[in-house]
């Protein structure tokens, strides 16, 4: 396949728009994620429309659907895990601050291996 690969990088200097280059990177990441969200939205929309054309009123069924207690609990658990992943850096930072355990353990580890 080496005969058919494509170049992805752009020759030239990339401008920096913000004082902290991390903000520039975040802009790129947010919009790349927004692009994938648009892809998912379109997939679901397509499913609903195809099902609708076949007489399965998915859109209406989805609008009517009410989760039972178990489903609600499972969803809540999923949301909490998801939020935990979203804020993993914050939690790590917090862990470090409350006890300095991470740093102390790391220093012990360095000693052990040197």
């Amino acid at each position: 396949m080496s005969d058919h690969d494509v170049k992805r990088t752009i020759k030239g200097r990339r401008p920096q728009f913000f004082d902290d280059p991390a903000v520039d990177q975040l802009h790129g990441m947010v919009m790349a994620m927004a692009t994938e969200m648009a892809v998912l939205y379109e997939r679901i929309d397509t499913m609903e429309r195809i099902a609708g054309a076949k007489g399965v009123m998915m859109r209406e069924e989805l609008a009517r659907y009410r989760p039972d207690e178990q489903a609600q609990a499972e969803r809540e658990a999923w949301r909490q895990r998801f939020l935990g992943r979203l804020f993993y850096l914050y939690r790590e930072d917090l862990d470090d601050r409350l006890g300095q355990e991470n740093e102390a353990q790391y220093q012990r580890f360095l000693k052990d291996i040197s």
Binding site: D5, I10, K11, P15, F18, V23, D24, A38
Partner: protein, 399 residues
């Protein structure tokens, strides 16, 4: 402001054998990026205009007792502003995403595209090729083409990897449509189409026998001249081999006869006086201070007496106010278009006179957009990035 949103009604790109066919998710990504660009134009650009006119300019005037002098001074005031930074950053990100999402389709289809290119060029099973393709592996492309990837298109115009590569042609064809938000029509051909229509209207008796298109890329604006002057022999040149392979295959698959060759527009191998019509479309702003006059001189050399050269591009700075100049000039700074701004300062009439054209035979004017006139898309000029009004700038010179 923001009244131009209705101009972004999506006109699907016209299909042909060489055009990539995005899969469902690829298409969703590409459509999203096009929508993102349209949103920048209709939802973010008006805020930048409002910030300048409502905040930055008045406070400067208060402080200094005068208005900002020119686009350079406006730039100094605007670059630190958070509204402008977000706009400019998002514009850049949209451009990077644009090429990257199209590259997914190009990469997936490339082996087939290369084969299709070979087949289309040979018109296998469909008689002999209509036109021709002559490549020159000894040609060194000019620095202004290879120094940066113009408009951030990975690979630029000359990127070549495998045998019979057509990737950058495929990338450009699809990418330009998304970039132009469909405003150049389903065939991306509005610049050539408008110039050809202008010529037919302004010179009704003009019947060119031979036509040369300079810097043709994939032939978007070459084909309207084939249609406008069906009896003419049409030639087109560019410096990138993959572009020309793609352009030839595209023209053949669309049933248009064009003779493509790999040549530098400042010094072609055609004899003096060989052409009745020499044209170029959005070529000037991607050249250099040295190359632009050299191209006009070469056009003069190539024209037969009575022949016409027509060069189409986006509007020059004098055709807009200082703030729009500043906005348009962002392409120079942020989109790998190093000559974009400087070109808009060049007095093209004087360049043409210096090249040998008689002053009374030089016109510099706006040619109404043939596509937007036909489609009923009226829009004013409010610069974001690629945002033509209802007309293209044309330099028309007669020998």
């Amino acid at each position: 402001m923001g009244s131009s949103s209705n101009a972004f009604a999506a006109v699907p790109q016209a299909r042909h054998a060489m055009l990539v066919e995005p899969e469902r998710d690829e298409l969703a990504r590409q459509e999203f990026v096009r929508s993102f660009k349209a949103y920048i134009q209709s939802g973010i650009v008006p805020g930048v205009h409002a910030t300048y006119h409502g905040e930055v300019k008045p406070s400067f005037a208060m402080r200094e007792g005068r208005e900002p002098r020119d686009r350079h001074e406006i730039r100094q005031l605007m670059v630190p502003h958070p509204v402008f930074r977000t706009y400019a950053s998002m514009q850049r990100v949209s451009q990077e995403l644009l090429w990257d999402t199209v590259l997914d389709s190009v990469e997936r289809e490339l082996p087939a595209l290369v084969d299709k290119g070979r087949a289309a060029a040979a018109r296998r099973g469909d008689g002999a090729p209509l036109g021709s393709l002559v490549l020159d592996p000894s040609l060194t492309p000019p620095k202004y083409v290879t120094g940066v990837d113009i408009h951030c298109m990975p690979g630029g115009y000359c990127g070549e990897r495998g045998t019979d590569d057509v990737a950058v042609g495929a990338l450009y064809d699809r990418g330009v449509y998304l970039y132009a938000l469909g405003m150049m029509g389903p065939m991306n051909d509005d610049i050539g189409g408008s110039a050809a229509k202008y010529l037919r209207d302004a010179f009704p008796d003009f019947r060119p026998r031979r036509i040369l298109d300079l810097g043709c890329t994939v032939g978007h604006s070459t084909l309207p001249f084939v249609d406008a002057f069906p009896d003419a022999e049409v030639h087109a040149i560019d410096v990138g081999a993959p572009l020309l392979r793609y352009a030839h295959a595209r023209a053949e698959s669309l049933g248009r006869r064009v003779h493509f060759s790999q040549q530098d527009a400042t010094r072609t191998n055609f004899p003096d006086g060989h052409f009745d019509l020499v044209c170029s479309s959005i070529l000037f702003h991607e050249t250099s201070a040295k190359a632009l006059p050299a191209i006009v001189r070469e056009a003069f050399r190539l024209l037969a007496p009575g022949g016409i050269a027509v060069h189409g591009d986006l509007p020059p700075f004098w055709a807009m106010d200082e703030f729009n100049q500043f906005m348009l000039d962002c392409e120079t700074w942020y989109n790998n278009e190093p000559y974009w701004g400087a070109m808009r300062e060049v007095n093209q009439v004087e360049v043409a006179v210096a090249a040998g054209f008689a002053r009374e035979n030089v016109r510099f004017m706006m040619a109404p957009s043939a596509y937007r006139a036909a489609a009923g898309h009226e829009r004013g000029f409010e610069a974001g990035e690629f945002a033509p009004g209802n007309a293209w700038q044309v330099l028309v010179t007669r020998k």
